[in-house]
Symmetry: C2
């Protein structure tokens, strides 16, 4: 274990930067101290989410760097907390490092994690570092506090709601999936500006994740083909699939997709509470399934059985 | 992914059994609802711990069964919460399942987890299930509430304290490491009966883990050779190492090792608040390092540099 990254020493160093962090780092469990009185606290309860990334499945080294992998492993979890309009507070990290080169890899991972954790005020509260003869596996659990009127779920969309989205979609696998900014600040600002009815972060794909909202809310939707913000990467793709297909199907955009009352939607567009672009891409309707409306008003069904596979 | 364990469906079924669990299972993050008013709540903050187990490092299949691995992956974390005299509340589980046979393996793992989670009233709040071509990796994060006067740390041992331990030590790898009962109830009962100064669960080995307490408390210790409870498995071992060496060095006993004021130690022994046996195995002294006292009063140093390696 001579080449093992000294995780505990590194944690202690990180701890000094995080006034909210953990007493008792190096103990079996960490104790999280919540913010002092005066800082808004969650009404009750807490948010928790976990994601595991595996070498050969979620990334290859190279081209991905250890810093990129560490950053992404935290970022996908921050995006999950953002999707509920929560404030991330702390994380714990478990890793299985390949024995060969594990020290350098571990250091890189944790530098990527620490940079993003610092940016979002997230305490790194502990972890479990292991070495083995297998490929790299990293699992991060993030805790968060619900804010305002409580967590936004997938199940709150109502007929008449506007469907809004942050940013643009498609082509993320060309590189953006490693450097995306989790929409934590945007989610908090939006949730404060208007009651969000339902929200999700787009990880499976715009159509697939809208499908999750529709299914859990028991409603349908109409999306406006021309209103869907297509990313430059999706427009640049030359693989026989249209930019729109990329935008609807690619996944890993990590933008927010949410629904609000129509009046609130108009208000958010007129006076956006965040710098990231907001787009009004459709409406929630009663019924089930999702239809795509083209410029001439034609409606086409988006396959309810296989959202990922695009058009029927 | 046709053979993938339907984790979300399984979680929803589990959720029904846990009134404290998570609204919004299937959402990106889970929302933990804390117990209703009236149930004692943590003074502030929460406990969090994580452990990752890997096939080929921590277990082999066979002889270990999926149920045993799932149970142990949760049990080691419950033991970490017990070591701080906390009450475990919820867990999240991330797994990388081998593609071949992943369904059966996943089901077995989660049955082992669920049985133990139910026994200890721990909500399974979510997770991340993946398949790949590598070996099994499972990472569990457990959240807990500190109880009473707050979490017991490793750093509170004082000269004059008695050193007490639950259960017996050594030979755990013969099988006990899969079926041990995490000492959650015992830790809570002890912490309520007397102020515990320092505590740890014995995972690295009795000598090594006592070493952690001594180091973090800045104190030394004398252990009474004849007072150390040696397990039947350690006595039965026929490998050239004495039962005492097994008891001091083996690890994975997952018993509690703690220090209390002498008067409280006597009180706990006279009127034990738990059914598991309690042993008074030594005293905390000023200075550093640990010495072993034999029946005739001779003192021998236990190597401070390499606790795991036993005697100097």
């Amino acid at each position: 274990m001579g080449d093992e990254f000294d995780y505990i020493a590194w944690l202690r160093k990180q701890a000094a930067r995080h006034p909210r962090l953990a007493v008792g780092i190096g103990d079996d469990a960490a104790v999280l101290k919540f913010p002092p009185a005066g800082v808004p606290r969650a009404p009750e309860g807490c948010l928790v989410t976990v994601d595991m990334l595996m070498e050969g499945v979620d990334f290859l080294i190279p081209p991905a760097t250890p810093e990129q992998i560490g950053r992404k492993a935290l970022a996908v979890n921050l995006s999950d907390i953002a999707a509920m309009a929560g404030r991330p507070t702390a994380c714990v990290v478990s890793v299985a490092l390949p024995r060969h080169g594990g020290f350098e890899l571990g250091r890189g991972l944790f530098e990527g994690i620490a940079a993003l954790a610092t940016e979002f005020g997230v305490a790194i509260a502990g972890g479990d570092t292991n070495t083995w003869d297998g490929p790299l596996v990293i699992s991060i659990t993030v805790l968060g506090d619900p804010q305002g009127t409580g967590p936004v779920l997938r199940s709150g969309a109502r007929p008449g709601d506007w469907i809004l989205a942050t940013g643009s979609f498609g082509g993320s696998l060309a590189g953006h999936h490693f450097d995306f900014t989790p929409r934590v600040r945007e989610a908090l600002a939006l949730h404060q500006a208007a009651p969000l009815h339902a929200m999700i972060d787009v990880s499976d794909g715009l159509a697939a994740d809208l499908g999750h909202i529709l299914e859990e809310s028991g409603v349908g939707a109409i999306l406006d083909e021309g209103a869907i913000p297509v990313s430059t990467a999706a427009t640049a793709a030359r693989d026989g699939r249209s930019p729109l297909e990329h935008a609807l199907g690619d996944g890993e955009d990590f933008e927010l997709l949410f629904t609000v009352a129509a009046a609130d939607g108009a208000k958010l567009l007129a006076d956006p509470p965040c710098e990231v672009s907001l787009s009004h891409i459709g409406e929630i309707v009663s019924g089930t399934g999702c239809r795509l409306r083209s410029a001439d008003g034609t409606l086409r069904q988006l396959s309810p059985a296989g959202w990922k596979h695009g058009f029927e």
